[in-house]
């Protein structure tokens, strides 16, 4: 039995036409079109392309939902073992279409997707975390090199073997940082790296610096005296006994606690944060989350009120991905509750 491959191309590679045809709706043909043909020839009789999806780049990007509804419908029907899209080279809209398709197919159907793109194609960042993307040249002239790489990767994925390192199996790193054992201890590698720098030799950092995105500042509170302020902390402040068993480091969850009756955290709260000396915070928990002062301001009418729930988690060693998730979940609750402003304290 041969594995089934379904191929996706844009209007140009699907031989419908050039820019003037970029608005065509997706169409499925039960034959090999354009690069699908050459690709099929590289599958060594182990797999075959069962059909080609063709969609105009503009149509896909301007009517993404409609395009995906049709495309996912076809893929569900055809039930291929893998979907191959592109290569898109440096064509931005084509790349974005391949990426949009890849994310949807992987998320909703659980079918792996192989594509090919030039490093600067904006579609790459969109889908590289999930799809297996081969690096290609920046124009269709790179087709002859791209297809064998994509085919080899496809065959390896179909064979069920675990993929090796990105450079070994020819795909672009998906951004999963995995811990591995190596031959030389860390200090030796550091000395080697320093010596390489002295000699002007090439060296490769083991940890490229992270990039943090930005968020536009939210508008300010207009009238503080009517505003509900929520108190949030990453200082690990929890009710005594830590009822929700929040982790002391590398938190996997957050807690929400009713503070409506508290004039301060003191007496009822302690920290389970593993990243600092807890003695002072346990003495007076408001040193970490200043509920006492907020209550004063509430009494004086300077603020409308303190939101009835207090949100807390542990910041130390907690992955940014988890922190993002916590922020999304807490933010949604605060938004739904109509909270006007938030004070978040960190230790």
């Amino acid at each position: 039995m041969k594995y089934k491959v379904l191929y996706y191309v844009n209007q140009f590679f699907g031989q419908v036409g050039g820019e003037e045809k970029a608005g065509v709706k997706p169409e499925f043909v039960r034959k090999m079109v354009g690069p699908a043909m050459g690709f099929n020839g590289l599958l060594e009789d182990k797999a075959e392309v069962v059909g080609t999806l063709i969609c105009g780049d503009n149509y896909f990007n301007e009517n993404k939902q409609e395009a995906l509804d049709y495309i996912l419908g076809v893929i569900k029907e055809e039930a291929p073992d893998i979907v191959v899209a592109g290569p898109a080279f440096n064509a931005g809209r084509y790349g974005m279409a391949c990426a949009g398709l890849a994310n949807a197919v992987i998320d909703e159907l659980g079918i792996p997707v192989v594509s090919g793109m030039y490093m600067e194609n904006p579609g790459l960042e969109e889908c590289r975390a999930k799809a297996y993307v081969v690096e290609t040249g920046d124009s269709a002239g790179g087709m002859r090199e791209a297809l064998p790489k994509m085919a080899a990767l496809t065959l390896k994925l179909l064979s069920g073997q675990e993929l090796g390192k990105p450079e070994e199996d020819g795909y672009l790193a998906q951004g999963r940082r995995l811990t591995i054992f190596v031959e030389k201890r860390g200090s030796q590698r550091a000395v080697d790296m320093l010596l390489a720098r002295f000699r002007g030799e090439e060296f490769k950092t083991e940890l490229p610096m992270p990039v943090f995105d930005k968020v536009a500042p939210a508008p300010a509170i207009k009238d503080l005296s009517k505003a509900t302020i929520a108190l949030v902390t990453s200082g690990g402040m929890v009710p005594l006994g830590n009822p929700d068993r929040i982790q002391s480091a590398s938190a996997q969850k957050w807690g929400r606690y009713d503070i409506d009756k508290n004039v301060a955290l003191m007496g009822d709260y302690c920290t389970i944060h593993g990243g600092f000396d807890p003695v002072y915070a346990n003495e007076i928990p408001d040193r970490v989350a200043p509920l006492d002062i907020l209550r004063d301001y509430e009494k004086e009418g300077k603020i409308g009120g303190v939101y009835k729930y207090f949100y807390t988690t542990t910041g130390t060693g907690t992955s940014v991905a988890n922190a993002v998730k916590f922020g999304q979940e807490i933010g949604k609750e605060l938004k739904d509750a109509g909270v006007d402003g938030v004070i978040l304290t960190s230790t």
């Binding site: 002072y280 002062i293 907020l294 960190s346």
Partner: protein
């Protein structure tokens, strides 16, 4: 967490000691605090002085929330 809450359009002020980190990760409104184990307190002060310190820090945070900002701002 700060950024994700802000994405909902709710103004948020980050009270943090190591503001360099806060700036790097992209908080927009920041109040520098005292020390990691006691951001809004100082055990070396007497009770009244510490309360006063905490009150001033929270006041700054509230100031941050009522101030329109275009970019990262320390209060």
């Amino acid at each position: 967490m700060v950024k994700e809450i802000e994405r909902y359009g709710i103004p948020i002020v980050h009270m943090a000691t190591i503001t360099t980190i806060s700036v790097s990760v992209g908080a927009n409104r920041i109040v520098p605090t005292i020390a990691i184990p006691y951001p809004v307190g100082d055990p070396s002060l007497g009770e009244a002085a510490e309360h006063d310190l905490r009150e001033k820090l929270v006041r700054r945070a509230l100031e941050g929330l009522v101030t329109e900002v275009e970019e990262v701002t320390l209060f």
